[in-house]
């Protein structure tokens, strides 16, 4: 019994990467369709219409690509890339959803922890891959501290988490907007040139940890073709950021494993029915706190991974830009306000990032109107709205 469950959960990430490596593009399309077909039937039954529409929409985009003169392989490379940036952030939603804290609209808080890690790492003079390790190390205590405080707060306001999380996220973010200006940062790559103080809104990571994960064991089909002196055709454009994906697989595995331990089981129970958990002797508050700290830490790591892919640190109001897409992604993946799994994370991130990358190019080529921004807003907010207005069955 235990094996069966294990297989299912473990399979998804590894299958994903395997497919990328081995399946030629022509077949990949059908494979993609297939992987979406099988959940499709389940979606009709349980996932609901919005998710179905989104999947359908993405499928249509895929089918359209050849006709509108858009290079499919480039698109797939983009999706893989964006998946590798965002997946860990989406994963950060899981613990809090599991423990019943709802959708983490307070993601900016976690991101701030990550930003503290990255800026301090640079400030302390770390460079190259080491700067990434340093950023992770520095971000961790902040995540534990801020996450702990955040958890304490959320424990006192059970029932109103989501709205308060939103505004706590905003408050912390705007507080740190001041801090970025006031803290005595001095590394010349980060501060404003003229005044030599105050961090710039965008800091390039060249020379630090730009692509440090993505570059690790990177598989660039173009390069391979060049080396071997053979032509791989369209496939040459495919690049796989193996390192980033491996890190996600590792973190997802750890999360999956955690949910199979005693404490993880307790966390799920707390989210499913806090009274039951209390009656079974679980310290509900402590479990929730743990989940918040985990979410915060994952969020902090998530933003660092995002940065290494993106190549820049974005400060000031940027943390907020990731909240809604991340929340929407996990919901699109099939999570609800109080249930989420690793497969939700993977499916959701692929679907959402698929739409994000495909819509601008495909729509633009097809109807010469770039409606991607608007579509993204409607899709993601509509998804969140759908999750919020759906009746939560069972215990509340």
């Amino acid at each position: 019994m235990s094996n069966k469950k294990k297989d299912y959960n473990l399979n998804s990430p590894s299958k994903f990467t395997d497919e990328m490596k081995t399946i030629p593009p022509a077949r990949r399309l059908t494979a993609q369709e297939k992987t979406q077909m099988s959940p499709l039937q389940a979606m009709v039954a349980s996932y609901g219409l919005p998710r179905l529409l989104i999947t359908g929409f993405l499928l249509v985009l895929f089918i359209l690509t050849p006709f509108v003169d858009v290079d499919l392989v480039t698109q797939i490379t983009n999706i893989i890339n964006r998946f590798s940036w965002n997946a860990v952030l989406v994963l950060a939603m899981v613990p809090m959803i599991h423990s019943g804290c709802g959708l983490n609209f307070g993601l900016p808080l976690a991101i701030i922890c990550g930003l503290l890690g990255s800026t301090l790492s640079i400030q302390f003079g770390f460079t190259g891959p080491l700067s990434f390790v340093a950023a992770v190390v520095i971000a961790t205590p902040f995540a534990i501290l801020l996450g702990g405080g955040y958890g304490l707060l959320l424990n006192r306001i059970k029932g109103g988490e989501m709205m308060i999380a939103t505004y706590v996220g905003f408050s912390v973010m705007s507080f740190f907007c001041m801090m970025w200006l006031l803290l005595p940062y001095s590394a010349p790559t980060m501060v404003y040139g003229l005044s030599a103080s105050g961090l710039r809104p965008t800091i390039s990571l060249d020379g630090f940890y730009n692509q440090v994960l993505a570059g690790f064991l990177e598989i660039d089909f173009g390069e391979i073709a060049g080396k071997l002196g053979i032509s791989l055709g369209a496939l040459e454009k495919l690049v796989i950021p193996t390192g980033s994906l491996l890190v996600f697989v590792l973190l997802a595995f750890l999360m999956w494993a955690f949910l199979h331990t005693k404490t993880g089981t307790a966390m799920t129970a707390v989210g499913s029915n806090p009274t039951f958990a209390r009656a079974a002797g679980i310290n509900v508050d402590r479990t929730r706190m743990l989940s918040v700290i985990m979410s915060t830490w994952l969020g902090a790591i998530g933003i660092l991974i995002y940065q290494q892919g993106f190549g820049f640190i974005q400060l000031y109001n940027a943390p907020n830009n990731l909240t809604m897409p991340t929340v929407a992604a996990i919901l699109i993946g099939g999570a609800s306000v109080n249930k989420a799994s690793i497969s939700n994370v993977i499916i959701g991130t692929i679907l959402f990032q698929g739409i994000v990358t495909m819509t601008p190019t495909v729509m633009n080529s097809a109807i010469h109107m770039d409606m991607s921004e608007v579509i993204r807003i409607i899709v993601s907010q509509g998804m969140i709205l759908y999750a919020l207005t759906r009746k939560v069955k069972g215990s509340k």
Binding site: L153, K158, M163, I164
Partner: protein, 375 residues
């Protein structure tokens, strides 16, 4: 002697605790005003302008609060409705007061429709109205952008190229309302010592206040208050709860539509894509600064809140620059305060709910102790 003092002190403490947020803001403003170094007449002028501009919008928040739907972002939808109306009116080149009146009338169907959608969705998410309205606001914003950015000019005819994007469809980032600018404010305006008082706008705000006071005394107002306090009891008494809640949201959006027109005519231009995005947040923050809570708000809260919040708003950058030598810090500080006050109010509200719950237990323990002592 001593005994007499305690309740008085306690009362004062209670008063401070009950009005912690306004008092905090009074203190902040008192510290910041000298630092910012603005002249009193400038400050007064600014405050009065902003009162005329924002009060009407803030008052719109009172309806959903009355119906127990919390601090509702539904008003943002009304603002969007008004913006669509204003764009059309600007394109038709209806200027001045007639333009304002036409915008208001034209905004009614848009904001009522959006309000109806919003109310219906919120009825589906009872218990988390606030976050739902917040998300609805983003969701509808998507549709708004779809309409304004793609449909206007391509499907909805737009006559004047001057408000359209160069590509031939979609509305520019800013639509000039130069010919509508401050036409309400200038009507009957009085200048006292360099301070312009937009009398007519204030009359409108006054009418709105009167309407709210009158509305509380109507059957619908009474029903709304009943629904707001206890939905189940109201339902048992035969009040159509869902309908009442939808009406409250629709009233809020329609009035917000009017408020937005007033707001826009004061500014004199329409920031097409950002105009509404922060309105809800600003109004909510202002109302909370005035001492309102999630479940209770009055006209007085709205007035006090607008004054204090905007005073802080005006002086914060200057004060920030004074303290740190960087005006951006002040900018961020006022952002922080705006968000912080909302977060604080929400936290206090939820914490209070939980405190009320544990009170019963303490009473029992006390009764037990008394009994034991008696035995």
């Amino acid at each position: 002697m001593k005994k007499k003092n305690i309740p008085a002190g306690k009362k004062a403490l209670e008063l401070v605790r009950g009005n912690a947020v306004p008092i905090m803001f009074v203190i902040i403003c008192a510290i910041f005003i000298p630092m910012a170094g603005f002249s009193p007449s400038y400050l007064l002028n600014e405050i009065i302008t902003r009162m005329g501009r924002n009060l009407f919008l803030v008052l719109c928040l009172l309806f959903p609060i009355m119906a127990g739907m919390g601090l509702n972002f539904a008003m943002t939808l009304g603002a969007m409705g008004a913006e669509i109306a204003v764009i059309l009116v600007a394109d038709w080149q209806i200027w001045g007061i007639p333009g304002v009146v036409l915008s208001m009338i034209l905004s009614i169907p848009f904001s009522a429709l959006l309000g109806f959608i919003c109310g219906t969705l919120q009825n589906m998410a009872k218990g988390r109205e606030m976050i739902t309205s917040y998300i609805i606001n983003f969701f509808i914003n998507g549709w708004y952008q779809l309409i304004v950015l793609y449909i206007m000019g391509s499907i909805i005819p737009i006559i004047h190229a001057s408000i359209m994007l160069p590509r031939g469809y979609g509305i520019r980032n800013t639509v000039s309302l130069l010919n509508m600018r401050q036409c309400l404010d200038d009507l009957l305006a009085v200048r006292i010592g360099g301070v312009k008082i937009p009398v007519f706008t204030f009359i409108l705000v006054g009418l709105m206040c009167l309407f709210i006071i009158w509305f509380r005394r109507t059957k619908l107002g009474q029903d709304m208050r009943a629904v707001g306090q206890d939905m189940d009891v109201a339902r048992d008494a035969g009040i159509n709860v869902d309908r009442t809640r939808i009406i409250s949201v629709v009233m809020s959006t329609v009035c917000a539509g009017f408020g937005m027109v007033i707001y826009l005519q004061n500014i004199g231009n329409l920031p097409t894509y950002t105009g509404h995005s922060q309105i809800g947040m600003f109004c909510i923050a202002a109302l909370l600064v005035g001492g309102a809570s999630v479940e209770k708000a009055s006209i007085g809260n709205a007035f006090l809140g607008v004054i204090l919040f905007h005073l802080m708003f005006i002086v914060a950058p200057g004060a920030g620059a004074f303290i740190t030598g960087d005006s951006m810090v002040g900018e961020y500080f006022r952002v922080f305060l705006s968000y912080g006050v909302i977060a604080l109010a929400l936290i206090m509200y939820e914490a209070k709910k939980r405190m009320a719950k544990s009170k019963a237990g303490r009473e029992l323990a006390e009764a037990q102790k008394e009994k034991e002592a008696a035995e």
